[in-house]
Symmetry: C2
């Protein structure tokens, strides 16, 4: 299949597929005489692999590492794969913690605000952001 079909099967743009190729994530199975990229169903699986990893939060650079391990599965220990996954889990947990902290703080000061049509002269949100302490 050509690049357009591959892209639409995976719901991404053609440019994205070419971008992944530039990043060495996805190589076409071949080229037509005219220079068109052609992809096999193997390439389709590979692109789906990439997209699934992306949806789990892996960056393209990390996906490259995953692919490197996958290509050489027989000679790579499971532990290498699991390490990548656990590092990513840690990343996610850190982001969750940071967002949770923000959420709690912002909820606290937002709930205290009347939100009415009266002037914001003593708005508790603005005051909280402007406070002397902390």
């Amino acid at each position: 299949m050509q690049i357009g079909e591959l892209a639409s099967k995976c719901g991404v743009r053609i440019d994205t597929v070419r971008y992944y190729e530039k990043q060495k994530l996805l190589v076409p199975s071949g080229r037509t005489e005219g220079g068109y990229r052609i992809y096999s169903t193997v390439a389709l699986r590979e692109l789906r692999f990439i997209l699934r990893a992306k949806s789990l939060g892996f960056t393209l650079k990390e996906i490259q590492e995953l692919l490197t391990l996958k290509i050489d599965r027989e000679n790579q220990p499971c532990s290498s794969v699991k390490e990548l996954a656990e590092a990513k889990l840690k990343d996610i947990e850190e982001k969750l913690a940071e967002l949770g902290r923000m959420h709690q703080a912002l909820t606290g000061i937002t709930d205290a605000c009347c939100g009415g049509e009266e002037p914001a002269t003593a708005c508790s949100i603005l005051d909280a952001l402007d406070k002397e302490d902390s």
Copy 2:
């Protein structure tokens, strides 16, 4: 005070202060004859306001809006401020949900992996990413 003192009091770089000025978030109280920016304690409070808002997840653009409201507090309703805060809370909640989804999915497939030194030929993480379905 000069820009260096202001920056170090707030734990940011000098360039950051100048960047905020370019973004119209923070104007120096004046200039010396030689062209040095000078800042009053009012500017110090303003910078702290900006940084506090940032720590709650507001972008600089949104902080600009907050400052616009703050400067004209008397004529702005509390509801305008609260709307910004609630929109940001919604943002944060969406990110939390997305990260939570990622965390759960990744935890699921990671827990299933042995993580041992045996070859990753049948590694459940790689298999999960490579699966036919979904």
